[in-house]
């Protein structure tokens, strides 16, 4: 988000020093996997979700009391820095029992042997989630490394009033989207449909995912990187073209200028995810009740898929002395109706379980979208169409390169294809440097 620099600085300095001390730490690796499941158990859980402590209290007073499992939440800052912190703690065998992790961070954690396989503890949980969401926690294997918590199906947000004013139709396909952008430019040269922002790689990753891209796949023991594949190229060229001809803006999101553009109607649409109402509430407070949500435009009229942007899961670490107790809590937290209602209320999350998406907490639309009563009904239908995603062990590197390469390409309105190629090359080079086998 806005302070990528600080985050990157922290990540880099941690990474550098981690590397320097990795050798020293390797000396002591005693596998004390003694499962002590009898008697009272107390677990620690690193999470950034606001109000998670209150949800854990529900467990501690209810189910947890029966099972003699007490969970203590330690609130953390989200993002890549937390992944690094977990890995540092894991080096010292001091990682907490449970951690919250974004889906794209799971392969990094798994390849560092930080996450436990809890497949044996979570029978039947799989059916409660959409296929595309669940598959992210298995990394395409028989193991289960986490339970999905929230998801971020992508959607198209637009200013209903201004679309009417400029006489625009809500685009069903990306071709129509481009036409809409051009039509708007003609009618009101100072107004942009939206912007292509290069400061949050999750957006581009989600768009590529919708187009069918598979950025990381495994082939036997080898990783295969497909960032530069045909689907991603299609997406990059599409947006690169729009930026080049000036049909959409090229300024980054989450800046004061962007907030202002949304608030004053200089930008009248946003390709975002289910959590957008929260962001819009702070970014564009004066536009309350003027927005509407629609499915993401499609690449062809017959398709109905969306990508995902954001979302996280609950994982059990290999350092935990009470893995099955931890798995029990993780399952409760993400499947129990009471827990999910509390999570939605306290933490504002959009649950990954399909049943919870239409449960009591989601009968009312978000306050900012009070004009669209079926917001969450629509959202849950869109969530079902989420395309599977494929993350690898160095998503952070790919994302950093994205910020740099696409950042300058968007600024200079130059070739997005070349930026994509840079992203591919840097990611492959880093994988090799880390000692992974990479299929060319």
């Amino acid at each position: 988000m806005p302070h990528t620099k600080l985050r990157r600085l922290v990540t880099i300095s941690v990474a550098v020093t981690l590397g320097a001390t990795a050798l020293a730490a390797c000396g002591s690796s005693d596998d004390s996997d003694s499962e002590a499941d009898s008697g009272p158990v107390s677990l620690t859980y690193w999470s950034w979700t606001p109000g998670m402590d209150k949800v854990a209290d529900l467990w501690n007073k209810g189910q947890g009391k029966k099972d003699q499992i007490t969970v203590t939440v330690k609130k953390q800052a989200s993002g890549d820095t937390l992944v690094t912190k977990i890995l540092t703690a894991h080096k010292a065998k001091k990682a907490p029992d449970l951690v919250q992790a974004e889906y794209q961070a799971l392969p990094t954690l798994v390849s560092n042997d930080a996450l436990a396989d809890i497949a044996g503890e979570v029978d039947g949980v799989k059916d409660k989630f959409a296929e595309g969401v669940w598959q992210q926690t298995t990394l395409g294997s028989d193991a289960v490394y986490a339970i999905p918590q929230d998801s971020g199906p992508m959607m198209f947000y637009y200013r209903e009033d201004l679309f009417k004013k400029y006489d625009l139709e809500v685009p069903q396909t990306w071709d129509e989207f481009a036409e809409t952008a051009r039509a708007l430019k003609k009618k009101s040269p100072d107004t942009d449909l939206t912007t292509f922002s290069a400061n949050d790689s999750g957006l581009f990753a989600g768009l590529a995912q919708q187009a069918g891209a598979k950025w990381w796949t495994t082939e036997g023991d080898q990783w295969k990187v497909g960032i530069d594949d045909a689907a991603s190229q299609k997406v990059a060229d599409f947006w690169g073209g729009l930026v080049k001809e000036g049909a959409v803006d090229n300024q980054p999101m989450y800046t004061p200028a962007w907030n202002k553009a949304l608030n004053t109607g200089k930008q009248i649409a946003w390709v975002s995810a289910v959590w957008a109402p929260g962001t819009l509430t702070t970014a564009a407070p004066d536009t309350k009740g003027k927005w509407a949500m629609a499915p993401l435009p499609q690449w062809s009229g017959s398709e109905n898929v969306t990508g995902s942007w954001g979302g996280s899961s609950t994982a059990v670490t290999t350092d935990s002395k009470n893995k099955s107790a931890a798995a029990k809590f993780a399952t409760w937290l993400n499947t129990d109706p009471e827990a999910l209602t509390a999570l939605a209320k306290e933490g504002g999350i959009y649950p990954a379980t399909t049943t919870a998406q239409t449960s009591g907490a989601f009968t009312e639309p978000p306050a900012f979208f009070s004009n669209q009563p079926d917001f969450y009904t629509k959202a849950s239908e869109i969530a079902k169409t989420t395309a599977p995603s494929a993350w690898g062990p160095n998503v952070n590197v790919a994302y950093t390169t994205f910020n740099d390469a696409f950042g300058s390409a968007a600024k200079n309105k130059s070739d997005f294809g070349a930026a994509l190629k840079t992203m591919q090359d840097d990611t492959v080079a880093d994988l090799k440097k880390q000692g992974f086998e990479v299929a060319e």
Binding site: V14, A77, A89, G202, K260, N263, T282, P285, G311
Partner: protein
């Protein structure tokens, strides 16, 4: 820190002979230096002004009104900050005060005694120790955070107050400053005179040398205090319980709330403003110790 350098240099400049001779020159305002200094001042003060003004804006005004137009939400922001998770902000403030206050105090004590020893006593290996310290000064503390974490983990001390305090106590820069200052401020003759009068070495240090070193030690203390107050990486790695977080870390968690929760900008800005106040207060209070006559000596040459 630059103000310190200026203060130290000032008396020396005043004693330069020759300036008072001849007919008094008309004082002219030197345009270029003044303009440069003004620019520098604006550069330094503008962000501060931004924080002060932004802290008065409500969430609705923050990004929509003119940047330097004061808002109407300061009271509301304070109230929200106070109410956030049952006032955890004040807990962070208290923690920061503890880490910075106690940490700087301990570090100053260690620096004083080691700096004094290195300056006054001649012993084998003295230069080696000093050179190692110099190397330590050049080493950014960031590099040490992870090794220190692994060490603390061995000792089972992670996620405790001690895990943040202990690594702060030995500050190579503090020892270095204390040594330089002791060498300049504590004349060998005075130490010798104390010995002649039969005072023990400890007594010489505590009763004679220490008072002479006070202005230098105040510098060490302030320097350490600010460094700890602004420290981020060490507590970030050591601590997982947010009840033990210092203010820097606490504000960071307010910003990084995950993608589905908007960052609490107004709280962070108000919190950052309040977090600067103790530092400013400390500088104002302690500043006068620097003005103690640095040149007052116990021996006449």
């Amino acid at each position: 820190m630059s103000s310190l350098a200026v203060r130290k240099a000032a008396p020396a400049a005043g004693t330069t002979p020759g300036t008072a001779q001849g007919p008094p020159l008309r004082r002219r305002i030197a345009l270029v230096p003044t303009a440069t200094l003004l620019l520098g001042a604006i550069y330094c003060l503008l962000p501060v002004a931004w924080v002060v003004i932004a802290a008065t804006k409500s969430g609705r005004e923050l990004f929509s009104t003119f940047t330097f137009l004061p808002g109407t939400g300061f009271g509301e922001n304070l109230k929200d900050l106070n109410a956030y998770r049952d006032g955890v902000y004040w807990k962070w403030m208290g923690n920061s005060a503890l880490y910075a206050g106690l940490g700087a105090l301990l570090s100053t004590a260690v620096s004083a005694i080691s700096g004094y020893a290195l300056a006054i006593y001649r012993f084998r290996g003295r230069e080696t120790i000093f050179n190692i310290l110099m190397a330590g000064v050049l080493m950014p503390p960031v590099i040490l955070a992870i090794p220190q974490y692994l060490l603390m983990a061995e000792a089972d001390l992670t996620d405790s107050y001690a895990s943040v305090l202990l690594p702060l106590i030995l500050s190579p820069y503090g020892v270095y400053l204390a040594r330089i200052y002791a060498a300049a401020a504590v004349p060998a003759d005075v130490v010798e005179a104390g010995r002649m009068d039969g005072a023990s070495e400890l007594r010489i240090f505590t009763r004679i040398a220490l008072p002479m070193m006070v202005p230098g030690l105040v510098t060490v203390f302030l320097f350490q205090f600010v460094a700890v107050w602004n420290n981020f990486l060490l507590p970030y790695i050591m601590l997982s319980d947010d009840e033990k977080f210092p203010i820097t870390l606490g504000l960071f968690t307010l910003l990084e709330q995950g993608s589905n929760t908007p960052a609490l900008y107004t709280l962070v800005i108000t919190g950052a403003l309040l977090a600067v106040i103790p530092l400013i207060a400390l500088f104002l209070v302690i500043q006068r110790f620097w003005s103690l006559d640095l040149l007052s000596g116990a021996v006449k040459s």
